[in-house]
């Protein structure tokens, strides 16, 4: 077990219920700084619900979420971004009628300060901040390989580039923990390969911690430092990719057992 200060995200016995349905049930999970952690599980296992609990969209009924040693359990989503957690979505959710640059600039919202008065009077501080933000956005545009497309409406980008823009927007808030919800969905093998390189780069060069939901087992097993498996809202397994792959519980969850779990999962 790593030293406590190495744990960036510590989820303790979190439970989320929707009426009678328990979507996430007493899940414990720890993620170490500068690692890539994956969350897998069959459809409807509660993975995205778990993400929504971490990012503040859902308030868990029980349990606690500690980020950088501070509890964030009941914070609003916008406060959680300020704390340093940023995310992407399973079905891409960009600001469609805004340009690529504007999407990135909205991502920088948390670390900008200008208010209405500053904006109307265009004070020196506001103007300076805006210039800084523009420069950062230009750098980010380059980093995600969308240079030259900054003034395109997000809606008009091809699918693969929309994915990249969404990650770029999430990165714009300078997070320490990046949550990716099925980042390779809909990508061809080559794009998937590029994304793997990109995610590793984020961890190694930018020092980010990455937590991702992924269905593509090849991706999960090749890039993860740690894999957690959810099934019916419960964590049924955790460990290195090799450990998880060998776990009979996991095999049962995915392939079903003689007891007919398969039909239920479907």
């Amino acid at each position: 077990m790593a030293a406590t200060e190495d744990i960036i995200l510590d989820v303790r016995a979190v439970t989320k219920r929707f009426g009678g349905l328990t979507a996430v049930s007493k899940v414990d999970l720890q993620i170490k700084r500068q690692t890539i952690a994956s969350l897998i599980g069959p459809n409807g296992a509660g993975k995205t619900t778990f993400f929504n609990c971490i990012t503040g969209f859902y308030r868990p009924e029980e349990g606690e979420i500690v980020f950088h040693g501070k509890p964030i359990t009941l914070l609003r989503p916008d406060r959680i971004v300020h704390a340093g957690i940023s995310r992407t979505y399973q079905n891409i959710r960009l600001f469609n009628a805004m340009t690529v640059m504007e999407n990135l600039l909205v991502g920088m919202h948390p670390h900008m300060k200008a208010g209405a008065v500053g904006a109307i009077l265009n004070t020196r501080r506001t103007a300076h901040e805006e210039q800084e933000a523009l420069a950062d956005a230009a750098a980010m545009l380059d980093f995600i390989g969308l240079s030259g497309m900054g003034d395109t409406l997000a809606n008009n980008l091809p699918y693969g580039l929309q994915r990249r823009l969404e990650i770029g927007r999430a990165l714009s808030s300078n997070p320490t923990l990046l949550l990716l919800d099925e980042p390779t969905a809909g990508m061809n093998p080559q794009e998937t390969e590029e994304l793997k390189v990109f995610i590793r780069h984020l961890r190694d060069e930018r020092g980010l911690t990455i937590f991702l939901i992924e269905h593509d087992m090849k991706v999960v097993m090749s890039i993860s430092d740690q894999v957690s498996v959810l099934d019916y809202g419960r964590k049924i397994s955790e460990g290195t990719p090799a450990e998880v792959q060998a776990d009979p519980n996991v095999i049962a969850a995915y392939l079903g057992t003689a007891t007919g779990k398969e039909e239920e999962a479907a």
Binding site: T55, F57, R76, P77, D78, V81, H82, S86, R87, Y89, R93, L94, F95, N96, A97, M98, T99, M101, E102, L105, V106, G107, H109, P110, M112, A114, G115, A116, G118, A119, I120, L121, N122, T126, E129, E130, Q131, E132, A133, L134, A135, A137, A138, A139, L141, G148, G150, D151, T152, L153, R169, S173
Partner: protein, 716 residues
């Protein structure tokens, strides 16, 4: 052979046309001529309908369809349209006849003999007339169908030209005195000289371009001055020039001025005009287009002034000028933009400032050219621009559909009304009705001037906007619309209620609201005594308080409000706040996940939007001098929303265009007043069908180049 789409199209347009015919619009508009004694407005309307029916029936046909097929489709669609209208007309005549035969009054009172003869080319036999109408419709429809073969730019030029001729024709009586041809030629000439010099010398820097053009302009002014002197101009006489009316603008530089003053004025103004021309020769596409269009309009107004009315020769001349102008515009806009992009950022900014300054100067002198009635219309447009800009922040930027926007306008107007008149609030709790006139001055110490009440009105409106925002924070879309709609009614009913009668006047409203008065009399004496002639003149001018009572004076208050609202909208729109608003409109949840504080930003949008309505409402109250609860109905909210939607949501120039289209045209045409709501609905439907984004939708802001520059600067 004939696709079903064609028939459906013809039927759709046909039902609309039948409606227009049955309510008697063609007969009403037959009196109004577009081109004197040649083309009436009702004929124009029918031609436009048939052309449109033909054009839109084939709009989606394959690009390679033959001419015969296109013409045939267009003809069928237009003929179906005419047929539906004729059937409706005949039916209505039958119904009328049977109603009258059993002693009732006509069911369709607008279906008259005049209407029928209007539609049947005055033929003796109605059947022959109807057949003629059908044939005419088919021919026009065929032309409409064939029009699709024309290149898009020709179509655009044609459409804009025709529209301009129609607008000029409709408004001819009101606008033919705005400017004389000589004045128009001088203004456009001076601007054109600047433009041409700057383009010809092709200097890459802004200062050189403007400087050289200004010198040329000054020379032109001097030349005109000398020419006028040679023609015999003195401080008492103005030589006769082209046209019936003396050139008011030039004349004002000549009469009552010494020769030196006249030469200086002419030189100075020409210099400024040429500088504007040089600026226009290197500016952004939209400003270039706008600038040239304004000049072109001046020229057209001048032509109209010489002819007095739009007769056939005038119409031909105007069409020719319009087409030439647009061809020119097409060729020059890209060049102008290319030069502009080569400017350094500081130069670009300076160029934009020059343009704003010129625009402001034009806005400042505008009322001098307009008659009282048109001034009234301009004021109304201004008020709606202000409200449109405010609602645009709430609906266009933040995406919060507000149907009770009139509430804030009401609060603005009532705040000014209450604070500037005697009532229970300003008279220490005593109802105004119980106070004798001579006691008002001693009792009602709470009465303030407009200049105190106005900011208070803005504050009150903004505050109410915020208060309304709190309970509806969680609502979106239709739910929000319903709640805000109710709020608008609540405010009106509160103003109407007897409970607040002592304060707000109930159904009688607030009357005798004083006009805003600019009182600078204390400054007058020192200025008169200063000994400097110009200052002394200024001192005499302000020795009496100036009351802003007429439409031409209130205009300046409204202009101020519009400038403030535009400026604030512009700055906010491109700021962090504007981006946060637009991201909320796109996807509230994601916006919050990007760190946008929804509560704070929504309340800000509500507050600022409401404050704009407060600015307008405050002026409205003291402009009309009396306000009644029933001036503030739901219809006002809907009007403002229509301005935003038709103009183009989220776009400042769009709001201006929307306000002009919706309030300018119908106000200026008395015949339209009756059909105003009908036209409104028609316009909304057409906009939704043809341009769902509005007439001038916002264009994506270009940021990448700027950002790259910022990055490069940071790196060094």
């Amino acid at each position: 052979m004939i696709p079903r789409g064609t028939l459906r199209n013809g039927l759709n347009v046909g039902f609309a046309t039948a409606f227009i015919v049955v309510i008697g619009m063609p007969a009403v508009f037959a009196e109004r001529y577009i081109i004197a004694d040649v083309l009436s407005f009702s004929a124009t309307m029918l031609v436009a309908i048939f052309l449109g029916a033909g054009f839109f029936a084939v709009r989606h046909s394959a690009a390679d369809s033959g001419q015969v097929k296109l013409a045939l489709n267009g003809a069928v669609a237009a003929a179906v349209t005419a047929l539906v209208a004729i059937i409706a007309l005949v039916l209505c005549i039958q119904i009328n006849a049977s109603a009258i035969s059993i002693g009732m009054i006509a069911v369709f009172p607008n279906v008259s003999g005049a209407l029928v003869s209007q539609l049947t080319f005055g033929q003796e036999s109605a059947t022959a007339g109807y057949l003629m109408l059908l044939a005419t419709a088919a021919i026009i429809g065929a032309l409409g169908g064939l029009a699709i073969l024309l290149p898009k730019r020709i179509l655009n030029i044609g459409a804009v030209t025709l529209l301009m001729v129609v607008v000029l024709g409709l408004l001819q009586a009101q606008i033919n005195t705005i400017i004389t041809l000589v004045d128009a030629l001088w203004v456009t000439g001076a601007v054109a000289i600047g433009y041409i010099i700057a383009t010809w010398r092709a200097r890459p820097r802004l200062a050189a371009r403007v400087g050289e053009a200004a010198v040329a302009g000054a020379l032109l002014g001097l030349l005109i001055g000398i020419l006028l002197l040679l023609l015999g101009a003195t401080s008492e006489t103005m030589p006769a020039l082209l046209g019936k009316h003396p050139p008011a603008l030039l004349q004002s530089f000549v009469l009552g001025k010494s020769t030196l003053a006249m030469l200086l004025l002419l030189t100075g103004v020409s210099l400024a005009l040429s500088a504007i021309g040089a600026t226009l020769s290197a500016t952004t596409g939209s400003i270039h287009r706008l600038g040239i269009t304004v000049l072109l309009s001046l020229l057209l107004l001048g032509i109209l002034n010489v002819f007095g009315k739009l007769d056939l020769p005038a119409a031909i001349l105007i069409t020719a000028v319009m087409i030439a102008g647009q061809l020119l515009l097409e060729r020059t806009t890209r060049r102008s933009e290319a030069v502009f992009t080569q400017f350094r950022p500081a130069e670009q900014q300076n160029s934009q400032r020059l343009v704003s300054l010129a625009g402001l100067a034009l806005a400042l002198i505008l009322p001098m050219f307009l008659t009282g009635y048109i001034n009234n219309v301009v004021d109304l447009i201004g008020l709606y621009i202000m409200m449109g800009l405010g609602l645009n922040i709430v609906v266009g930027f933040a995406g919060l559909l507000n149907l009770g926007y009139v509430a804030f306008f009401t609060i603005g107007a009532y705040t000014v009304g209450v604070l500037t008149t005697p009532n229970a609030i300003t008279c220490g709790g005593v109802p105004a009705a119980g106070i004798a006139t001579q006691d008002i001055a001693t009792l009602c110490t709470g009465i303030t001037t407009f200049w105190v009440a106005w900011p208070a009105a803005v504050l009150m409106a903004g505050l109410t906007g915020m208060l309304l925002g709190i309970p509806v924070l969680r609502l979106r879309g239709d739910y929000l619309a319903i709640v805000t709609l109710g709020f608008g009614e609540i405010i009106r009913l509160l103003a109407l209620s007897d409970v607040f009668k002592a304060y707000l006047g109930g159904a009688q409203g607030i009357v005798n609201i004083p006009s805003p008065v600019i009182d600078l009399t204390t400054l007058s004496e020192p200025l008169v005594n200063s000994g400097v002639p110009i200052l002394a003149q200024l001192g005499t001018a302000i020795s009496q308080p100036i009351a802003l009572s007429g439409p031409g004076q209130i205009y300046y208050l409204i202009l101020f409000g519009v400038v403030v609202a535009t400026f604030v909208t512009y700055r906010l729109g491109k700021s962090r706040l504007g981006r946060a608003w637009r991201s909320m409109r796109e996807d509230e949840a994601v916006s919050q996940a990007m760190g946008v504080n929804l509560v704070q930003n929504k309340l800000l949008a509500f507050t600022i939007g409401a404050a704009f309505a407060g600015i307008g409402g405050g002026i409205f109250g003291s402009y009309l001098k009396s306000i009644f609860p029933n001036s503030f109905t739901l219809l006002v909210s809907i009007n403002v929303l229509a301005v935003v939607i038709i103009g183009g949501m989220g776009n400042i120039p769009g709001i201006f265009v929307g306000a002009v289209v919706i309030f300018g045209l119908p106000e200026a045409l008395r015949e339209f007043q009756e059909y105003r709501l009908l036209m409104f609905g028609g316009l909304l439907v057409l906009t939704m069908l043809l341009r769902p984004q509005g007439l001038l939708p916002p264009r994506p802001v270009r940021l990448e180049e700027k950002a790259k520059a910022a990055l490069a600067k940071k790196g060094t």
